[in-house]
Symmetry: C2
Subunit: 399 residues, 2 copies
DNA sequence: TGACTTTGTGCCGACGCTAAACAAAATACG
DNA sequence: CGTATTTTGTTTAGCGTCGGCACAAAGTCA
């Protein structure tokens, strides 16, 4: 009797990613009849997830009956999202559409015991939930480490002094259970964890510079080492055991620094913030993160020839690495984060030229390379991962 | 009224890949009721695609009513499949299940004009169709070159003296139209084309050593250069414009040969048959293909220290390249073809050790590495690509 | 104002499935 | 040897979901 049950998930995803501003567009995107699309929208509205404007939108020049606007319900449910990085952590509540409802930046030095910071993260998130009174449907956590699946353990928490193999997902879920963050069914919400660059790619694909891309490659460097991520046909590719896109060991400088992997001149050691500071002849200081120091240097002293030369050097190395990845993966867009984003901003033409020169065919070389466009992108990515079960089956997760 | 229309495609694919030997298994694999599975099987049988044994299969020790065996209809429709390689071409008729019905090996030196060999290929296939009287539902062609999508042009027909950008798919379809190979609707069958390594990966995933793998990486070298292919979640990943998995320019020997790509020590020039012959101190002869010469050398003179040393050298380089790919893609199985397959057979432990050592985590390093198991695998892959529309919607393509 | 265009909704029927009962064909066991 | 059990296959009834269609609503265009 009820229409549009099968299309409920796809429809919510369309509204969530801003690709269905009206029911008319929703009808076309879903490939169903107007009757079905209308029923789907009504169902999602009844679930409290979306909103159908009472008054039709201002007629945009086109004739015909104007459409009512669809949007994410402003007081709908949220997920708890958090990111952990070299300088501390940040917790937030994120609604559908990638909207950050409330944030609690928690700058603390990251302790060697991962359970302590994860507890603090969840406590901050639980505090936000108490303050706002929002209903919580899930939780996501981004960590600067590869996360093995299906165990949910952090395999290389490099610049956190965490033990290798820390069971971050289990710790996250234990903290959630302890803090009393309950879902609509009265049980603790389930938490998902993932690598920060992977989740950044997911966020950029859904809401940022990667929107509309079919195959999106994301490369970023935050503190030490280089991370990569890949979204294929709208879905994050994290490999058969979560370990895909460990791109840091592509050779970009055959005569370069030795790397712990046994080779030399790897992207990991040749194109991260430390490599940039070293190339510019600066001594890294202990006060702020290496990314922050690099960014400041690049932005304020780009006129200095040594800084400019270091930037050019790193752009050339990054271009080599990107060309290698583009040859292998043939994405239709590339998004850069962290210091790589700054390097792209500093001299976009140089980077694009290197990639084009080293790509095997002109078509691959002309792939668009864009900077990340979202603030807190790994946090929003964590939220995306947490929302995924709701997007897959809204009825089961909300009703 | 008719039951099991939506499940028709998935059901045919299960029988096609041998994963549904009986209706009972089909029921479980499809996740439907026995009634639906029975109706689906009846429908596929009515279409002439599969066969339900009249007599139940020999009871295999288990109690309960024995199941009737499902199999591909022996006299069902076929597709025309062909591969073009350095030594000539081969055309065949291939049924569902990857069964080669009839082949016409056509060894001719490959002319500079691609349309001539493609005409010859199609003519050979059309001859087989006339001889056997089989109904033809599609056609597929594997070429040793990257094929750009959506144009269907051969971008690097390296060891064929074809022009770059030869419109192979158009030529293939024109030849099919000219030869009068008609589908059941009376119009010429549509031909699809693809890179031979990509199609090999598809074939191995469906019927060979890659069966059951979720993410399959395939690497092979036939004559000159190295090709790669990737099957993700059962679907070939050929990138946004068909150019993915150009893996030949991973650096595996920083002090090695210069490569036309501008770098040096690329997999392409360090790990193909020519590199092997050179490393073994042999002069390549003009009579047979480089692959054939390498294979003969490896099989008959492996005891010779110089041959053994060359094999070890190439295994080490191949291992480096595979480790890089495994780090990036995290497949759960790797299949090797051409000379790489021979190298694996020569010393499996050495190759696995190199990959394990250079992989970032033990889990990635222990990925199974297997030899290709199918004869004519790119030909069967071409058939798979040709069958795909039928697998997607049997009713539309056969009825 | 009337024609036209586009959007939204109610009703009905068709399609494709599940559920449940029944039938069939083997093994297990007293 | 006969009955119970297990597993497979088929029949029938019913129901949920969606498309098709008619109609209503709300704007623009002339």
């Amino acid at each position: 009797m009820e229409r549009g049950r099968g299309a409920l998930g796809p429809a919510l995803e369309l509204v969530h990613t801003g690709r269905a501003p009206t029911r008319a567009v929703l009808t076309a995107e879903l490939g169903v009849t107007r009757a079905t699309a209308g029923a789907v929208a009504a169902e999602l509205e009844a679930l409290g997830l979306i909103q159908v404007d009472a008054r039709p939108a201002a007629s945009a020049g086109s004739q015909g009956r104007p459409s009512h606007r669809l949007s994410i319900a402003p007081n709908g449910p949220v997920v708890l999202a958090a990111q952990i990085h070299a300088d501390g952590f940040r917790a937030a509540l994120v609604g559908l559409g990638g909207r950050v409802i409330a944030t609690a930046p928690g700058c603390m030095t990251v302790p060697a015991d991962p359970s302590r910071i994860i507890d603090a993260v969840v406590e901050a998130g639980a505090g936000l939930l108490r303050e706002t009174g929002r209903r919580c449907l899930g939780a996501g956590l981004a960590v600067p480490s590869a996360v093995a699946e299906p165990e949910g353990t952090a395999l290389n928490p490099l610049h956190l002094s965490w033990p290798v193999g820390a069971p971050v997902r289990t710790l996250f879920n234990e903290a959630l259970a302890k803090s009393g963050v309950l879902g609509p069914d009265g049980t603790p919400v389930t938490g998902v964890t993932g690598n920060d660059v992977n989740l950044t790619a997911l966020a950029e694909h859904r809401h940022g510079a990667g929107r509309g891309a079919r195959h999106l490659l994301c490369v970023a460097t935050g503190h030490r080492g280089v991370g990569g991520a890949l979204v294929l046909d709208g879905r994050l590719h994290s490999g058969s055991s979560g370990l895909a896109m460990e791109v840091g060991h592509l050779t970009v400088n055959p005569t370069g620094q030795p790397c712990h992997c046994g080779s030399r001149g790897c992207l990991d050691v040749e194109c991260d913030p430390l490599a940039f500071l070293t190339a510019a002849g600066r001594e890294p200081g202990p006060a702020v993160s290496l990314l922050q120091q690099s960014r400041d240097l690049l932005r304020t002293e780009y006129a200095d020839p040594s800084v400019r030369a270091a930037a050019d050097l790193l752009i050339d190395r990054l271009g080599l690495g990107l060309a290698g990845l583009v040859n292998i993966l043939n994405p239709d867009r590339v998004v850069l984060g962290g210091l790589h984003r700054e390097l792209l901003d500093a001299d976009p033409e140089r980077l694009r030229a290197v990639v084009a020169e080293r790509s095997l065919w002109g078509r691959s070389g002309s792939v668009p390379i864009l900077p990340c466009s979202l603030e807190f992108n790994s946090l929003i990515g964590a939220a995306e991962a947490a929302w995924q079960p709701v997007l897959d089956d809204p009825l089961a997760m909300v009703g």
